[in-house]
Subunit: 133 residues, 2 copies
């Protein structure tokens, strides 16, 4: 058997709601569900981005049967840009919104841009071509 | 503008290659690139699962211009099952392979199963219907 898609990508933030606001206002994700101080769940196309506060999600009592998890320190994720033109539009939009670009990278088969979310996670937008996708 | 897909999902493991072996043999992901002790990159359909050792990925010297990141503690991710029949086949396959199911959950609109990867990350397989997807 082969898993064919990742349904939920998870990052951590001590203030999930504040962090989620960034993904809504800057990346255009759709807010789906939220418990302030615990988690914010966002939709991105056919996938979900889940932002958890690692304290509560490591607590078996608050997890109430759901397996515990919770990581500390800056995570990383990358959103898909269809092509270089879309990536350039994203770079312009981030600059307009006052989001500092931390790095621009040229890979053998495409480009990436990097910035930080409010929790310090490293966010990338990359042309799918960097992975031959 | 709206991001429409997450291209890279990231988890952490002190032994990325060992952890990647689990995702290849159990979940059927395709190994793409690997530097032992630093990272293993796997393909899952039109997405990538990147497994980093958080020590090196937090080191600006080893990152060589790529923004640093690295989280410690058990992360979480979830693979997509098309429907309940596929989820049940996954549960059977995990049991055949000797992977302990940590939890089975019934959500209002579908089901999940949970287990652990060798690094202790919480891995879930869920029907896409749990998110209305």
């Amino acid at each position: 058997m082969q898993a064919t898609a990742i349904l939920e990508t998870v990052i951590y933030a001590d203030d999930p709601a504040g962090c989620a606001g960034f993904y809504v206002s800057v990346l255009g994700l759709e807010a789906v569900q939220e418990v302030p101080g615990r988690f914010s769940f966002l939709r991105c196309g056919a996938q979900m981005l889940l932002i958890f506060a690692p304290g509560p999600s490591l607590d078996p009592v608050q997890q109430n049967g759901i397996p515990t998890h919770g990581a500390k320190g800056p995570g990383h994720l990358c959103f898909r840009a269809a092509d270089e033109a879309e990536l350039l539009r994203w770079a312009e939009r981030l600059t307009e919104l006052g989001v500092a670009l931390e790095h621009r990278h040229v890979w053998p088969t495409g480009r990436s841009i990097y910035f930080r979310d409010p929790a310090g996670n490293s966010v990338e937008i990359a042309e799918a071509a960097i992975w031959g996708l």
